[in-house]
């Protein structure tokens, strides 16, 4: 370096949270959200459509089973599956890919449960509107796979998208869960930062549950 270089500026660039800038550190946590979104949505989206298709729905409707009970019953079975999947994904991410986990496991557990319930309820909601499984499948793919993969900020940064897509991404639960996962894995921050996201996941699960139940109720009357 020559000493005579007149006004010189020394740009010191430091990287926080992911100092070696490894892409796996942000892809793996995001992937957990994407896998859960697709899996959970797909798991339940066919369940009620199937009952309609094979003609069992009329029988179910004639029993004293209440819609809320049906939604919760259908959801709980898949909830166990989804939870097992998320534990596997977490363990594989931390052990095989040695992605650091710096946050609170409790917060991770709570937000995973909230996200999982929301997406499972969403699947049931779709399913209760569809009469065939093909229809439910197509709707499920459109509303879980696509936003889960593209509008969640998993790989493609939401900030750089056109405004319309940014607004649409606001109602994609995976967006909030991806933010929670990335923060928990890499930043190690807690509820003080992630409260908004957790509240959204809670609201999403509640609203979608309520919508699914009321949709089933209406079909009962018909």
């Amino acid at each position: 370096m020559k000493a005579n270089a007149a006004p010189a500026i020394d740009a010191r660039i430091r990287v926080w949270y992911n100092s070696s800038l490894q892409s796996k550190n942000f892809v793996v946590p995001g992937l957990i959200a994407v896998i859960l979104m697709i899996l959970a949505g797909q798991l339940t989206s066919l369940t009620i459509a199937r009952e309609w298709e094979i003609g069992a729905m009329e029988q179910i409707l004639s029993t004293p089973l209440r819609p809320a009970e049906m939604v919760i019953g259908k959801m709980l079975a898949y909830f166990a599956v989804g939870l097992a999947d998320s534990i596997i994904a977490l363990v594989v991410g931390v052990t095989v890919f040695s992605v650091p986990f710096r946050g609170s496991l409790l917060l991770l557990g709570v937000s995973t449960c909230l996200f999982l319930s929301g997406v499972l309820f969403w699947g049931i909601f779709i399913s209760s509107g569809a009469r065939t499984q093909v229809e439910a499948y197509q709707l499920g793919m459109l509303t879980t796979f696509l936003p889960g993969f593209l509008l969640s900020g998993f790989v493609f940064s939401i900030d750089t998208m056109p405004k319309v897509l940014q607004v649409i991404s606001l109602i994609v639960p995976a967006r909030y869960f991806v933010a929670i996962l990335k923060s928990l894995f890499m930043k190690g921050v807690g509820l003080e930062v992630l409260a908004d996201q957790v509240i959204f996941l809670m609201l999403f699960a509640t609203i979608v549950f309520w919508r699914a139940v009321s949709k089933l109720k209406r079909q009962r009357v018909v």
């Binding site: 500026i9 696509l146 990335k182």
Partner: protein, 387 residues
Amino acid sequence: MWERIRVILYKEIIQVLREPRMRALLFFPPIIQLIIFGYAVTLDVDHARIAWMDMSKTPESRALQARFEGSGRFDVVAYPNSEDDVQRLLDQSDVHAVVSVLPEFARDLARGRTAQVQVLLDGTNSNTASLVSAYAAGVIYEFAKDLSPHPAKNQQSIQIHVRGAAGGGRMPAAQLASDTRVWFNPDLRSRNYFVPGVAANILLMVTLMLTAQAIIREKEIGTMEQLMVTPMRPIELIIGKTLPFALVGMINMLLVTGGALLIFRIPFRGNFLLLMFCALLFLMTGLGAGLFLSTISHTQQQANMGSFFFTTPAFMLSGFTFPIRNMPTVVQYLTYLNPLRYFMEIVRGIFLKGAGISVLWPQMLILTVYGVAILGLSALRFHKKLD
């Protein structure tokens, strides 16, 4: 024989297209997928949010800030006053980077000493972080160059240090140099690359799932037995069950190609008929895989989950979103087993490079072999299962 195929074709097409909602769901999602992919998928960073911590508060430091804002790459959204503010901004992901100008900035510049600017990056998204770092280094470099009366002599006057919080991870200079070039890369490039790939994916998804579901549906609602007691032969059933979805797949292919050209103005330099012919070749793989899926599943839900074993690796290992060249060598070899990889190359070749048969024949040959093998074996297996 043809009469019976005609009848089942007719039945299948009615069943698929009877409901208006189903019609919409067959042709609407591919368009949505195209549009979202086209707009969402860009790995470039346009308006990085940065925080500006000006401890110098001099005309020079404000000039540097103006440079940052004027570059069109950065929006200054916060002015932190303390280290705590900086920590909070980064923790909450409010900003991508924090630029701090040290108090001695103007004095050092005036005395011809090396002035320091610190750029603190949120490395969570490594792609965004390396772009932001390259852009920031570029702005500072230009600023330093313009300060000097003899820009040519001063090429070396900026030092860029990159280091991680942990002390390790020094970014190689070559990486910085190559990243800086992204600056001049027009935003459209990545879109041109991604959008044609959507067509390939959609063709696979549509043919695979619709075929599998149409067959399993018959099993599930118990009409398969009825079909089997008719004089219909398995091969006729297979043709009747797959052709409608080949048709739906081809229509989707047309829609998506049309959308790519009309909405996104993706260049189309090749032969359209060649593209459609290659789509037909690839279709055999999708239909065959769907047929196979239907022989191993009893319910549509099983088929649905089973399809992930096929579509996810196909999707990830096709070079669609993740370049094959960046994968570990072992995984690169695996991609040769993936039929979608070849179709992806064909689609991109025809769209972007105007490649013809003379270039694409190896891929076409492989697709034919895959298609015939997968469709043939699945048909055999299907045949056996029926007996």
